[in-house]
Symmetry: C2
Subunit: 379 residues, 2 copies
Amino acid sequence: MSSKWFTYDLIAEDPATHARAGVLHTPHGDVPTPIFMPVGTKATVKGLLPEQLKGLGAKIILANAYHLSQRPGADLVAELGGLHDFMRWDGPILTDSGGFQVFSHGDFVRLDEGGVTFRTVDYDGSYVHWTPEDNMAIAQSLGADIVMQLDQCTPYPAERAFVERAVELSSLWAERCARAHTREDQALFGIVQGGMHLDLRLRSLEHLESCGDFPGYGIGGYSVGEDHAIMFETLAPLASEHMPRHKPRYLMGVGNPTTLVHGVACGIDMFDCVLPTRTARMGCAFSSAGRLNLRHARFAHDRSVLEEGCGCPACRGGFTRSYLHHLVKQREMLGGILLSLHNLHFLLELMRQARTAVIEGRYADFVRRWDELPGSADW
Amino acid sequence: MSSKWFTYDLIAEDPATHARAGVLHTPHGDVPTPIFMPVGTKATVKGLLPEQLKGLGAKIILANAYHLSQRPGADLVAELGGLHDFMRWDGPILTDSGGFQVFSHGDFVRLDEGGVTFRTVDYDGSYVHWTPEDNMAIAQSLGADIVMQLDQCTPYPAERAFVERAVELSSLWAERCARAHTREDQALFGIVQGGMHLDLRLRSLEHLESCGDFPGYGIGGYSVGEDHAIMFETLAPLASEHMPRHKPRYLMGVGNPTTLVHGVACGIDMFDCVLPTRTARMGCAFSSAGRLNLRHARFAHDRSVLEEGCGCPACRGGFTRSYLHHLVKQREMLGGILLSLHNLHFLLELMRQARTAVIEGRYADFVRRWDELPGSADW
């Protein structure tokens, strides 16, 4: 599975934390880590043009293989030249397998020997049967730079026996995905599952390491409803002591700024989450003072920008909280757009500053300063 | 009312039609005419940043005094530094009085000696009483470069007696608006009403000319449901033979590309309409082949851009009809955004080319070529 296309260079390791800075090389460009990846589920980061994402300094974006397999279909995307051409993003792309979406279908999911059957209740309601091989065929048709194995994501709370079976299934599927995956210009990442059980997490990781030379690892099954502290009880030892040093570590579906800052301290390299864009569309802005709900009447006459000194198009452009309040209250598209630009910039910039702090060997201080911010607990 | 801030220079008159090219000078910049003005009803052209409008070459945009008086309120906009500061558009702005909106409230409208009472059914349902003086106070608080008198817009069809009374009321209100309007850095345009009756139109115009030195004239009450041909029966003689030569003529709420091309031939200088952005949000694109409904399945595999050779961000950016079909079908914001950029570019570019044709004295040929396009009747 190792490929000349995908190498990960470790640039710096922080002396007082487990934070690292690196560069992940891909066929569509280099990805400096740690990094936040904006989510473009259906081949579009909602409301933003690719050039606006470039302007924010986004280096890699996500799309979702499940959603794209439903509409417009992986074959159509392949016919149109692959995902990069289709959505006009010429930088690196990562596609999630859709495992998370499949298992969020609840009662409509049935496992069998070969794979999983689920009902596409969010599309036309038809039944779909996926084997890991089917999933890899979709991933290869879409043509992202990085693709994730099909896995079973467990909810929280969950019975240990249930989580254990999910780890076993995910391990089996990792092997089958690895065998089915043949595109050399595409990296396949394995996914560590195991819920909030460290021993199961380690068993999952061990199996992935034994079954092949994955160029990177996802860590799934966190941020599924548990407290921040509960996640770190197992994530911290897993990432800081057990994950291979020379491969990128991707904490899937996370998350909020404080979790990113602490995740980097554990040695996480990559993050993604819909939070910045979804909360933006609901009228909320990230700030060092915490989350600002622009719907609130207290912003009606507020002539300051979202965050003084912020370099995002909304703040640099001088759009006031008063104007944003008006847009959000009137359900104007521009409200969600400006807040999405701001929130994505917030996380991208946070990771750029984190990276610099790691390179300069002062990441412990960076975390301390973050935790002292009035808004750091407000996530 | 005449002001050093607002002068209109006539640059060229076409030899074979009544088309003209000019420049309208305003405190926030020059407006080359003929021109299409994108509509930003609630202080935002839906889905687009001001810098994107600049990128399209928009020179002046609209907002609506009625809507802004409701939310966020004219006083609040004034407190925030006026409309330009509020919405971060530093070019010229024109605000419509809201007369059209008031009289579209139907059964909820009552006229009296002093003004009009209507129920804001599209907001909190409260009753509002407006005099022409109230309306001018709102216009002056908002602070656009050009504001329109309060008028009574008549529907089509309408009884002649009803239209006649509306002309009389609009004339009376024009005088009262002119007396109440004091901002020298803001131009007040009178509005010619009169429905589809040329004699009433001329009576309306005559009264406006007699009651003051308006720096420009709106022509209202067209595009209210009548056929294109019926409008031109009265619009053509009105604009080409009777409107004063050295003042800009603004055909309000119009419209589609073919009407713009023919309107310019009658001597119209300014147009506005929600059509390009509203149809965009419904999934439709302007093209020389007519209107393209991107929801249609025939675009699913279409790898061409909306219009070959088009310089808009959607076409220049290489976004295919296939991708746009996907976005529109999935109700992704980016679909409406890309189509809005394309449709606005289409009308802005059409007027730029029309202006060049007028200056080069070949506008009759320009109209003929337009009418020969396969899509010219498709509006």
